[in-house]
Symmetry: C2
């Protein structure tokens, strides 16, 4: 008989213990977690970054990853974007009654492998089970602590003449999840770009305060993140449409799905604003990493349209790119 999660697994009693001891602990073996206290006691140093995200992506297995890999990368990447080196991760499950234990094991495995790849320790956790029809398989929250490596990324430091850099093709994650959800494009190689941004971020850290701000453009995509960079400031961003790297298959899928790739989520890219002086060198360094080979300068900061993002089209037109309105891509992460 296929093993499934029942409400008993969330009782806090024997079944919860067996779930923890048989499925979770063997994969996340470390002394802090093994004590099974209500929390973990950890070494800290200086200033820390602290971040949280709940993941509700549907479907929970998608081309290029699954909700487990995404839950680790998502929080690891948020810590990196704060200028921190990720160190500790908490892991909390909300599982729907009837969820296959085989699927849970696959997700736990993927969490464990991704955490190892990121050099982050899973130190504390929680599991809740809700009745059938009160969830959607599995939701995961991760929160993370990182040690600050470089401080001061802030929109307040953006200046006229700065350039906008993206570390690779945009839109992959959103399109991969949407196609998986709709069962489209089964014969293409659309894949989520879900990955830890550790090496990219470390390369960027080396440029110190020449980098003004950086962010991973997840929900809402590149266009929404660029809006967040300049909203409330004296500056605008001019985005050069032809310079934004987009894979041909993503571009085609977007046309069919009616999605704008500039608003489609990314889970393995960084967009940043840096001073003009170091921009070429920085892009060269990023391109030296396999995950940065499509990096490009895609625009610049001007003081022409206070607080706005303006897209320059190949035929010489320009239009304002707002933040995403509405739920173009629900449950993408």
């Amino acid at each position: 008989m296929e093993e499934i999660i029942t409400l008993d697994y969330g009782s806090g009693g024997k079944k919860t213990s067996s779930l923890i001891e048989e499925i979770l602990l063997p994969k996340f073996d470390n002394s802090k977690l093994n004590e099974l206290m209500d929390g973990a006691v950890l070494k800290s140093k200086g200033r820390i970054a602290f971040s949280t995200d709940s993941f509700v992506v549907s479907p929970y297995f998608f081309p290029g990853g699954d909700i487990g890999k995404l839950a680790v990368c998502g929080t690891v990447n948020d810590l990196l974007m704060c200028g921190a080196i990720p160190r500790y991760l908490s892991l909390s499950f909300i599982i729907e009654e009837g969820f296959k234990i085989e699927h849970l094991k696959k997700i736990v495995n993927s969490i464990s492998e991704t955490a190892k790849e990121c050099g982050i320790e899973i130190v504390t956790g929680d599991t809740k089970v809700v009745e059938k029809g009160k969830g959607d398989g599995i939701y995961i929250n991760t929160s993370g602590i990182g040690f600050m490596e470089i401080e001061g990324y802030a929109k307040a430091r953006i200046n006229d003449g700065d350039v906008v850099i993206v570390t690779g093709n945009v839109g992959d994650h959103g399109v991969a999840v949407m196609s998986a959800r709709n069962g489209f494009f089964l014969d293409t190689d659309l894949k989520s770009d879900c990955m830890p941004l550790t090496n990219l971020a470390k390369t960027i850290f080396k440029y110190g305060r020449e980098v003004k701000i950086m962010r991973d453009p997840t929900r809402g995509g590149l266009a929404t993140t660029l809006n967040e960079f300049v909203e409330g400031t004296e500056f605008s961003i001019e985005l050069i449409e032809k310079d934004v790297p987009i894979a041909q298959n993503v571009f085609t899928a977007c046309e069919i799905l009616g999605i704008d790739p500039l608003y489609s989520a990314n889970e393995g890219k960084i967009v940043l604003i840096a001073s003009k002086d170091i921009a070429e060198d920085l892009v060269k360094d990023i391109k030296n990493l396999p995950e940065g080979k499509n990096a490009a300068i895609i625009g610049k900061v001007t003081s022409n349209h206070k607080g706005l993002v303006v897209l320059k089209t190949p035929i010489g037109g320009s239009r304002i790119l707002n933040k995403l309105t509405g739920a173009q891509l629900p449950r993408i992460c």
Copy 2:
């Protein structure tokens, strides 16, 4: 028209921003959160405690509290039980489409008030929205960081002759939630004991290493927590049934609902093991706090039944109290 949460609120775009700016930020005003980065950058010192919990309690409003108050107290209390003073909290919502904005505001208000009472800052957050039928109103994850005040609470330090102390009546939370869920007992004053354990814990911290281990007996109740204290050790706990404080209305409700109060969840109590020498003084100090007035010594550590909890009944019998098996009380927290 009644305002409700739609999928747009989880898109990461404009609606998400309005939710954050209009409902959340005004209640959690602090500079770390206002920056709206992917994480918060925080001062840290020495060693820290780190804890996480997802809250799925049903119903999300119950006598004596709501899911918001519970989500703050739950993580604050877990940090205190590690020997830490809680400092920073993350807050992550998974909201079901159609959820009333009025309810969200009430819950956010309750989170804000409880956080103030606990002296903990909400520094980072996240909001996801899932389709109708894929959640149950609202689920909340909180993760917390505390600065270590006293280290070394561990079952390894439990010894023959130590005593077991509880800081007040047991079973209140589980019974209050179960009655609210079933619509029973509307005329009684059954109320959850949900509260921050800050003052109780600080009193206990003063006794240093004379206190061996402490825990808040939530899911699985007193009996399950006592089992966790001794399982895998050389010792057993003898629990004196007549000495365990239980409110009369909780006792009666348990009889009707078929719940054993020893397995019913608490959200405002501590159970601890301390050396005999200081036990009387400690109980006296706890009783001096309003929330500790029903504190009592309820048992002792012996080496008679390795790893077991044995209940001594008033008529001289004894029976083994196991961990909770099955889901007697699903979705209690």
